[in-house]
């Protein structure tokens, strides 16, 4: 991290950061969006300053995931403030709050470690609203004397929030999940189970060599290779197509959303690559929706509105269905190897 300078405070020097991001920050963001080094993209916890912070400047609290930190500072143009970075082990505010690392105890200890009460004359902190899952405002007040003001959900609303005398509108308080929010998460979805995908593709490729004469590498290169690509298509249906068309799918269960996109893609695959083998044909009408359904169900964790109780309920129905349909599909596909 490059600092713009330092500011002197009674407990010591505090590093100043800028709101302008550099190319390295954008490249770093691109990298973690594709899930490379995502668990180790951090800034050092502690106190920072922005602009020309003084004794009456507000204190913004955030997580030490660098993507969160950068997202906050790029929205602070023209605002003099302090930034208190909690040690969330490099996890973003909302997820860390769920785990409790962005929480009351960590906030109270960072207030005391940084000597914040000697740096600012006031006694309030601006905490992102999604931090409320881990931060109990009344406990922070009791333990540190600082009043927690929960700010907007999105950092981009901070300037307006400050101009509104720290009042957030209903829109600022509400989590969204629109097309842009979903699209930005797709790369990480693709990467999530990528190693399993490669393993399954390799297994399908090798199984593709089976035939009634025993085993043939030509058959693997022909049918096996095509089959492993169909599995990849099913996987991508679940983690790209389902998220994109998400609200258009007229069901609420994620596993059903994935089954629908999977079925439609299975139809497209059949039209583009028709097979004369009935077993092979039926196999893909089972396998593609089953794989897509399972992968789409994992999008619950990425979404911003599913409850644990709801996901548990859906999984109780979905997992047995997905396993039986995928097994039936696989069996038919193997049978097809021997009668083609």
């Amino acid at each position: 991290m490059n600092f713009a300078g330092q500011v002197s405070t009674p407990p010591g020097e505090v590093n100043l950061v800028t709101s302008g991001l550099r190319i390295a920050d954008y490249l770093g963001a691109l990298k973690v969006r594709w899930a490379f080094g995502r668990n180790n993209y951090r800034v050092a916890p502690g106190l920072y300053g922005h602009g020309s912070p003084g004794r009456n400047s507000p204190v913004m609290v955030t997580a030490n995931y660098k993507l969160s930190f950068d997202h906050l500072r790029k929205n602070l143009s023209g605002i003099d403030c302090w930034i208190l970075v909690l040690d969330t082990k490099g996890i973003n505010v909302w997820c860390a709050a769920g785990k409790g690392t962005f929480g009351t105890n960590e906030l109270v200890s960072k207030i005391s470690e940084t000597g914040l009460s000697d740096i600012v004359a006031h006694r309030y902190l601006l905490v992102p609203q999604l931090g409320a899952t881990g931060v109990a405002a009344h406990e922070v007040k009791k333990q540190s004397g600082f009043r927690v003001i929960f700010g907007p959900v999105r950092a981009s609303d901070i300037p307006e929030f400050i101009n509104n005398q720290y009042k957030a509108t209903t829109a600022m308080r509400t989590v969204r999940f629109n097309l842009k929010d979903r699209m930005i998460l797709i790369p990480a979805e693709i990467m999530e189970h990528f190693s399993y995908l490669v393993f399954v593709m390799a297994a399908i490729f090798l199984l593709g060599g089976l035939n009634r004469h025993g085993y043939s590498l030509d058959a693997a290169l022909d049918g096996g290779l095509a089959a492993s690509f169909k599995i990849a298509i099913a996987y991508l249906t679940g983690c790209v197509i389902t998220p994109v068309v998400f609200p258009l799918l007229p069901v609420r269960h994620f596993f059903l959303k994935g089954a629908i996109t999977g079925f439609l893609i299975a139809v497209a695959v059949f039209i583009l690559y028709p097979s004369k083998n009935i077993f092979e044909t039926i196999a893909w009408f089972l396998l593609v929706p089953a794989v897509s359904s399972f992968i789409s169900m994992n999008f619950t964790g990425t979404s911003t509105f599913t409850s644990l109780s709801g996901v548990l309920k859906e999984m109780k129905t979905a997992i047995p269905l997905q396993i039986s349909i995928a097994s039936a599909g696989l069996l038919l596909w193997i049978i097809a190897r021997f009668i083609s």
Partner: protein, 97 residues
Amino acid sequence: MKQLYLENVVSLEYFPEKCNGCRMCTIVCPHGVFEMLDKRAVIVNRDFCMECGACALNCASGAITVKSGVGCAAGIINGILRGTEPTCDCSGSPGCC
């Protein structure tokens, strides 16, 4: 457009007689589940609740309970495999919050 998940499933419970009217639940809820009516909170959008637990944690008078946790299929599978509560703490795995 706001997305609605499954209906009649969440573990959110609210005891209005304990409400002290501090409005904190209406501030912290990311889905507008609570609103104020005559100086007390009321549940207006129960099925929008995602069980994040922010309201219960920030209710100083203990008027709200919810079994909070991660609404994440991968997290639930993780929990089952490890014999723990559902967790998104998949250290070492790249694609996880």
